[in-house]
Symmetry: C2
Subunit: 520 residues, 2 copies
């Protein structure tokens, strides 16, 4: 019955409006029913598009993602070049892996967070998921190619169906910048280099003061053991400890006792330890600690922390590194040392612009790098379970982008989005061919140049374009210059001008050689 | 009943093998049935994993995708740097867009090829698809941000569920390098710059001789009209013409007449036109052509081809450009000029290594760049249908990678995968601390340096590492050098050595300054 209405009402919509009377002749149908059907169809029509039949697109990017405009790209390139420069200085190679992996490659690696993985639709063939981080694909790559040692960096986007908080730099599509050292080496040497790298990058990026907190999974586990935490509660208590950077101790203790069912004595003992911060001397003290020294694991971790600090001294990096027993990173696959870098200056406020998350305004800028040792992950992929020890660090680049963007907004300095050195312009009409010839000569000489794509652009609009996009030089062609076989060059900032040609005496001291162009 | 067997047989597998006799006491079950059940369970076990209960991963990347190893990355970086260098020389900005778009953004843009789009699984929320090219996201970006003119490049991966032919550089995940100029400008000026860019890039990459074929959608449509092709057959006849680079004219004619139902006369008239190739003079001749000149569209296209060639002459790029009436690119959105670059030398054979595609060995290397003018695409996204004229080019980078990789394989030149300038080594034991201190000093001075992560590496293995990875210099520490406060520097290739320190007379002419390090 609805089908018949559809035909009628649709034809009505197309202009052949049938008299209501004719509908009345259908038995058992009220006008109200007709109205309802019409409303449904109009709604359907609205969904399909406007009256002109044109489909109305929702003009947006997917939730939690963003485009980068040229200015953001310029900042992104600057940050990447600092980071890649550091990775290369430390002799790293680079690899790349596909954006999606077989679904089962990611299965069982992320614990609870697995629900945040993006799956691809089953369109026949393999079941695929977008990568969640770069560490698991790296481990898969090592096992697949039977590589037992490599020092590599990998910069690429990863995907998490998380709750986005974009103004604070939390996206569903975001970059990771990973540096990892895989191989069977002597203790703490590659680990120390990872920390040195974080130190170098954060210093170079000039984001304000920072601290690198260091701890060790074995110290945490040993501490839990000697404090009387039952073995099966290690991981869940560990994740409560992990909240100490966001919650006061009282609340953390409450969660341990009330939610996780830990005894009050155990919680209080943990409380004493996790309040400790220091350097090599703290590791030494804890090695003498009556309780802590009962755990072999803890002692192994503490000795390595000592060794680590001795290497960091040689690297002149101890000023920023602090041994912090409250650090307990979330990921399950860490087996030894763990670390996290935080910016300690309340940075121009990444949080306060985030209207929806006003409550978090007081939270510190948070972690901008993190990592640790994961000696078991590659073995999970190897058919024979052969282990490849690994240690690595991931730079939290989106947060750094956010800060750099805000710094750029705040500063007077204009971010250039092109590198054009010279604009080829004309002062009179009908000089397009001459402009095309000159710009081509400049391109062929490797000089970054452009011209306006108009036959007869106004000189003023050509000069304005230079000012807007920061082009330092204009080559101006005019009848007189062509007659004299010269080009008039103008420095945009100073308006200084000179004529330049084969037989031309220089009227200024500007040395117009190729090198001179390069200096702009 | 199977359940009971499971328990028994499983416990058997775990070592508590029950005597077969006890099973015989179950009524109505034969030994054969038991054997069958055992076989099923063993199969199940094999699927789950080996005896240790470990899951066996399928260690592979998704179909049609690949990892890039460090050597491939080094080649990739070299190619990208040439291409980006050219784009920047022409004053392009860059943007980035997310890897996935709302599904409806891609709908209706790719015609038949839409079936090749990767969809994401519906996990609640928006319906998403992986981008199929960079052009549609670019058009969406322009419409969304109301940008009416921009010159931008975008280098990123795109995704097509196509039949992969990986040794020939055809993947399901592959890079596109796009350069586009959007804006209302005077005819053929930006179009000519796109061709100049293809010319520059292919020349610089040094892939052998090439041709850039040029045609215009309006000339094709005009030609079809004057040859008597019915309007509704334009697109389908156009896609048959597109096959002329892979099929002889006889077969193309057959397809037109037999499959597409075109009259023989029309086909023969088309045959005469599509055999034509030339330069500006061909465009002039066709403007005088009795039949062709009947089409206003064709005349507009031909005049623009003339104009294009005049600009290309000023760009000194006509040597490689040919006006070819058989060029008819597939995509629907082109509205004006179209072009495609092909390598004309039978390049070391991208095909012959492809065992599965032996039949295609004789096919030429094929298209390495293509593009054209698409004045209507942005308007498809704009709520008011406002048009932004665009012209662009896409460099087919995967094919170029394949060729470069094969060239690298064939040549004696070793591809370095790191940029390390100096290896910090020791000749005796117990010098780890001194090595760490020196390498840190080098890093701090911006010099690319590394050391082996062993307490006491052998000098030989340190030197071998240098030879293998092409590190040009070794700084060798020994007791005597430490006593003298110097470092011994050795040039790996020549074995030339010198001692370098504050109070040290130079024994060689090597000038060990920071600049000297940079020169390696």
């Amino acid at each position: 019955m609805l089908g018949m209405f559809c035909v009628r009402v649709c034809s009505g919509l197309m202009g052949f409006r049938a008299a209501p009377r004719s509908l009345h002749s259908f038995p058992g149908i009220t006008v109200a029913q007709i109205d309802e059907e019409v409303a449904k169809l109009l709604q359907l029509k609205a969904q399909i598009g406007g009256d002109d039949g044109k489909h109305q697109f929702v003009l947006k990017t997917a939730k939690g993602t963003r485009d980068y405009n040229p200015k953001q790209m310029a900042i992104r390139e600057r940050v990447f070049s600092t980071i890649i420069g550091c990775f290369k200085r430390h002799g790293a190679e680079t690899i790349d892996t596909p954006v999606f992996e077989l679904k089962e490659t990611l299965t069982g690696k992320y614990g609870e967070d697995s629900k945040l993985i993006y799956d691809l639709k089953d369109q026949g063939g393999e079941l695929l998921s977008l990568r969640y981080d770069l560490t698991v694909p790296f481990a898969r790559y090592l096992a697949m190619n039977k590589i037992t040692n490599i020092k590599r960096y990998h910069i690429a986007k990863v995907y998490r169906r998380d709750n986005p908080a974009m103004t604070r730099g939390r996206y569903r599509e975001f970059y990771q910048c990973d540096f990892d050292i895989a191989g069977q080496y002597d203790a703490m040497i590659p680990d120390a280099e990872c920390l040195k790298i974080v130190h170098e990058i954060l210093s170079e990026l000039d984001l304000g003061d920072f601290r690198i907190k260091v701890n060790d999974r074995r110290i945490l586990d040993g501490m839990f053991a000697v404090c009387g935490v039952p073995y099966d509660k290690f991981r869940t208590i560990c994740s409560t400890v992990d909240k100490l950077d966001k919650m006061p101790w009282e609340d953390v203790r409450k969660e341990m006792v009330n939610e996780k069912g830990l005894s009050e004595e155990a919680a209080d003992q943990i409380g004493e330890y996790v309040s400790l911060q220091g350097g090599m001397e703290l590791a030494e003290r804890l090695l003498q600690d009556q309780k802590m020294s009962l755990s072999k694991q803890a002692c192994a971790g503490l000795s390595d922390i000592k060794l680590l600090f001795s290497y960091l001294q040689l690297f002149q990096a101890t000023d920023k590194v602090v041994f912090d027993l409250s650090l307990a990173r979330g990921l399950d696959y860490y087996t030894g040392i763990i670390y996290e870098a935080v910016l300690t200056q309340a940075c121009v406020s990444t949080a306060s612009t985030d209207a929806q998350n006003g409550a978090e305004e007081s939270v510190s800028v948070g972690s901008v790098a993190g990592g640790g040792r994961y000696d078991g992950l590659v073995g999970m992929f190897d058919p024979k379970g052969r282990k490849v020890p690994c240690v690595g660090v991931s730079i939290g680049i989106e947060r750094i982008f956010s800060i750099m963007e805000q710094k750029a907004e705040a500063s007077a300095e204009k971010v250039r989005t092109t590198e054009v050195q010279v604009m080829v312009a004309s002062a009179q009409k009908n000089l397009l061919e001459e402009r095309l010839k000159l710009v081509s000569e400049l391109w062929n000489a490797g000089i970054k140049a452009e011209l306006m794509y108009k036959k007869n652009p106004k000189l003023l609009s050509q000069l304005q374009h230079c000012e807007e996009s920061g082009i330092p030089l204009v080559a101006i062609l005019g009848e007189q210059e062509l007659k004299d076989g010269v080009v008039k060059l103008r420095v945009v900032a100073s308006r200084e001008e000179m004529r330049h040609g084969p037989n031309q005496e220089r009227t200024h001291q500007i040395d117009v050689s190729k090198n001179w162009f390069w200096s702009f």
